[in-house]
């Protein structure tokens, strides 16, 4: 009987959480925003863009790994997350093939060429968004709502006009597919917080720093409506809860995560208040991604018994 016993190094038990179910949870958490976006932009047929972009990401990963005879990792759902996030970051009127191209770029260039899951230093979905912005600036910055092309609330705000915060909360405004509804995004964020996939360290410091920055430098003093509009507008909620919290491209140390959140808040504030365009979340996240190695270096925890916090 005894020859069937397995041996391995301890520990002999494992937690139930796997990479696959973490990623799946992120997908589920993105569903409220996705469904709302598809409904919100039904006249623009956003569903097709979401479907094609997401499918392209998964397919690219599958084909690449098959072609190179690597283990196929589509089951870990990470390509699904990337594809979906990219789709939610696209204007609903973008030609479908551009979405597909972006997905291929995200998986092939930003993720796989750097060694696959865990090795990329930049959020693939955001890398692809910026790639598309550079290639197709016009199409990427045209926002249509209810078949009428117009300014996003954030652009309106930048132009000095007033915006309707209520509709920004609900999301029936112009914008990218997944960014408009604060409520839908927060439902997903609360789910992720509740099951422990993310914690408050990054998004919390990010948002708090951003608010402080706006209060200090917008020149409007304590204009709460203005601050709320900034919080609810643009890609901030989507970015803070779902992209800044991407494990791979954020610091692994706790103190690092706080520094990272502060960087994000300051950069987003800078771009939004003083930059050329109204938006700044994507660039803020990408730049902070690049700062991660540095941040980690200066925030290494002190080992137990070697000083530092107990």
């Amino acid at each position: 009987m005894n020859n069937k016993l397995r041996v391995s190094s301890s520990p002999h038990v494992r937690d139930k959480v796997t990479t696959g179910n973490i990623m799946l949870m992120v997908v589920i958490a993105l569903l409220p925003a996705t469904i709302f976006g598809i409904y919100n932009f039904r006249h623009e047929h956003a569903w097709l863009l979401v479907l094609v972009t997401t499918a392209s990401a998964v397919l690219t990963e599958y084909i690449y790994e098959r072609a190179l005879h690597k283990p196929v990792t589509v089951k870990d759902c990470s390509a699904l997350v990337t594809g979906l996030l990219l789709a939610l970051n696209l204007p609903p009127t973008l030609p479908v093939w551009m979405g597909a191209l972006g997905a291929v770029f995200a998986i092939l260039v930003v993720k796989q060429l750097f060694g696959g899951l865990g090795q990329n230093f930049m959020n693939p979905a955001l890398g692809a968004r910026c790639f598309l912005l550079i290639c197709f600036t016009g199409r990427m910055t045209t926002f249509t709502y209810d078949t009428v092309t117009g300014a996003t609330p954030l652009a309106t705000l930048k132009a000095g006009e007033s915006v309707d915060t209520m509709s920004m909360l609900l999301g029936n405004t112009a914008g990218t597919i997944g960014e408009t509804s604060v409520i839908a995004l927060l439902i997903g964020a609360i789910l992720l917080l509740w099951i422990g996939v993310i914690d408050l360290r990054i998004p919390g410091t990010y948002l708090v720093t951003f608010v402080i920055f706006i209060l200090l430098f917008s020149g409007r003093g304590l204009d709460l409506q203005y601050v709320t509009a900034h919080l609810c507008g643009g890609g901030l909620m989507l970015g803070a809860w779902f992209m800044a919290t991407d494990y791979v491209t954020s610091p692994i140390t706790k103190r690092g995560q706080i520094v990272y959140g502060i960087c994000l808040g300051i950069l987003t504030g800078l771009f939004r208040l003083f930059g050329g365009s109204a938006e700044g979340v994507s660039y803020a996240i990408i730049i902070s991604n690049l700062l991660v190695p540095l941040i980690e270096k200066v925030t290494l925890p002190k080992p137990f018994g070697k000083g530092g916090e107990k």
């Binding site: 301890s10 002999h12 865990g118 791979v248 692994i252």
Partner: protein, 439 residues
């Protein structure tokens, strides 16, 4: 009351309900008992019997092989069958003394014992050393050495490690409930060695009944107290335990004595009581037999040297063929290739599981989620250290504090990518420590 704890750690399924309520049962072995010459850290013991000798229970069969070493005693009477290599529970093959039990349990005559207050310090420590006592929680460090710090007057805490934070094991739990007096007696002996120390029984708060029982039993002992710990793994790891009780943090280059502490586990303290108060050498211990493959999990009073197969038989045999059998706990114990191995001084449990989750958890790429960092009680970065280890980059491994790892396995447990972090870090650590000694 604020509970005592450390930062980090995990909450695995504790599985203790399987054996928790089973009172300790004594089992008597048959056939051949095996005594590995190395059941402790340090130099192996040296056999003082030879093939064909007839030995009595309580007779010394191997002497300490150096300063850091411990003697071994026969737990049965019978004939020495051989001294030969045999697998031990940790998976290595080493010299063992094989004794065929004659079933008579004829005992040597033990020298008379003196009352504790008439014994000199040195005498007590010698007696503990002569009894072959080592850290019985798993480390196996000779207790005599532990009790002889450079500056004994600086010791102000004797901590009884009653945490038993490993899942499934309930041996210490049963000891505390059923042999409370012996445990306290052991503490009394150790306290007599350190006049400035107080004795703390550090118990996890999932063992409320033990806490109550101990509190009641020590109410007239001014130098002893009970400290209620948060239930969390690895609360019983020496450095974490010292921190939880005293808020003093030590690193890998320090000894508990540097923080004024001496830590002994439950089984060790009971052995000290047996040695000093009763004059008996170390010949038995409590072993939990549990796991979903075992018919009747329980806690057994086992003579050292008993074959694990007999232990399994005593627990009603296997319900189903196990896929994995572990000596010790699921977090730090050793998976065994065969159950044909002996119970040693450090065997706290024998666990048998029908499914091996490790084999079902294929390793995948690190997603940098930080869970391993979050749980690491040593506050190092397991994911990175495992990378350095895989690259054989010993220098970075050491500068990034890889030597601080206590090999608790919390990182491997929690990793969603199922990386064998502890395994990688542990083996690099061994190499690095060996190289450090050479220098």
């Amino acid at each position: 009351m604020a509970l005592f704890t450390f930062k980090g750690g995990i909450h695995p399924d504790d599985g203790k309900s399987l054996a928790k309520d089973q009172p300790i049962r004594k089992i008597l072995p048959t056939g051949i008992l095996m005594y590995p010459l190395s059941q402790h850290i340090g130099a192996p013991a040296v056999a003082v019997v030879k093939k064909g000798d007839h030995v009595l229970r309580g007779q010394k069969i191997a002497d300490a092989g150096g300063f850091v070493s411990a003697p071994i005693y026969a737990s049965v009477s019978g004939q020495v069958k051989a001294i030969e290599k045999h697998l031990n529970p940790t998976g290595s093959s080493m010299d063992c003394i094989l004794i065929e039990n004659d079933g008579d349990y004829q005992e040597v005559e033990y020298p008379p014992v003196k009352p504790l207050d008439q014994m000199a310090r040195e005498e007590i420590i010698r007696q503990i050393g002569d009894a072959g006592i080592v850290g019985m929680g798993g480390a196996g460090f000779p207790t005599r050495v532990k009790l002889s710090p450079k500056e004994p007057e600086k010791i102000d805490y004797i901590i009884a490690n009653c945490a038993e934070c490993e899942p499934y094991i309930t041996a210490d739990y049963r000891r505390m409930l059923e042999h409370t007096e012996e445990l306290i007696g052991g503490m009394r002996v150790v306290l007599s060695l350190f006049e400035h120390a107080k004795g703390v029984f550090a118990v996890e708060d999932n063992k409320k009944d033990c806490i109550e029982k101990l509190r009641e039993a020590i109410k007239d002992e001014p130098r002893m107290e009970v400290c209620e710990l948060v239930t969390k793994y690895p609360q019983g790891a020496e450095r974490q335990l010292i921190y939880a009780v005293t808020k003093r943090a030590i690193n890998s280059t320090m000894l508990p004595a540097d923080a004024g502490c001496i830590v002994d586990n439950v089984e060790t303290l009971v052995a000290i009581y047996q040695a000093v108060i009763k004059g008996r050498p170390l010949m038995e211990r409590i072993v939990t037999v549990s796991g979903d493959a075992v018919n009747a999990p329980g806690n057994f009073r086992v003579l050292l040297g008993t074959n694990h197969d007999e232990l399994i038989a005593a627990a009603g045999g296997f319900k189903t063929e196990p896929e994995k059998v572990i000596s010790g706990g699921p977090m730090m114990g050793f998976a065994m290739i065969t159950t044909d191995t002996p119970v040693t001084k450090t065997s706290s449990a024998l666990l048998a599981f029908t499914k091996d989750v490790v084999a079902r958890s294929a390793e995948s790429a690190c997603i940098n989620c930080g869970r391993c960092v979050e749980v690491c009680p040593s506050r190092i970065i397991p994911s990175r250290l495992a990378d350095y280890a895989k690259r054989q980059d010993e220098e970075t491994f050491v500068t990034q504090n890889g030597l601080e790892c206590v090999e608790c396995g919390s990182c491997s447990y929690v990793c969603p990518a199922k990386r064998q972090l502890k395994q990688a870090i542990g083996s690099m650590r061994k190499t690095a420590l060996a190289n450090k000694k050479k220098k």
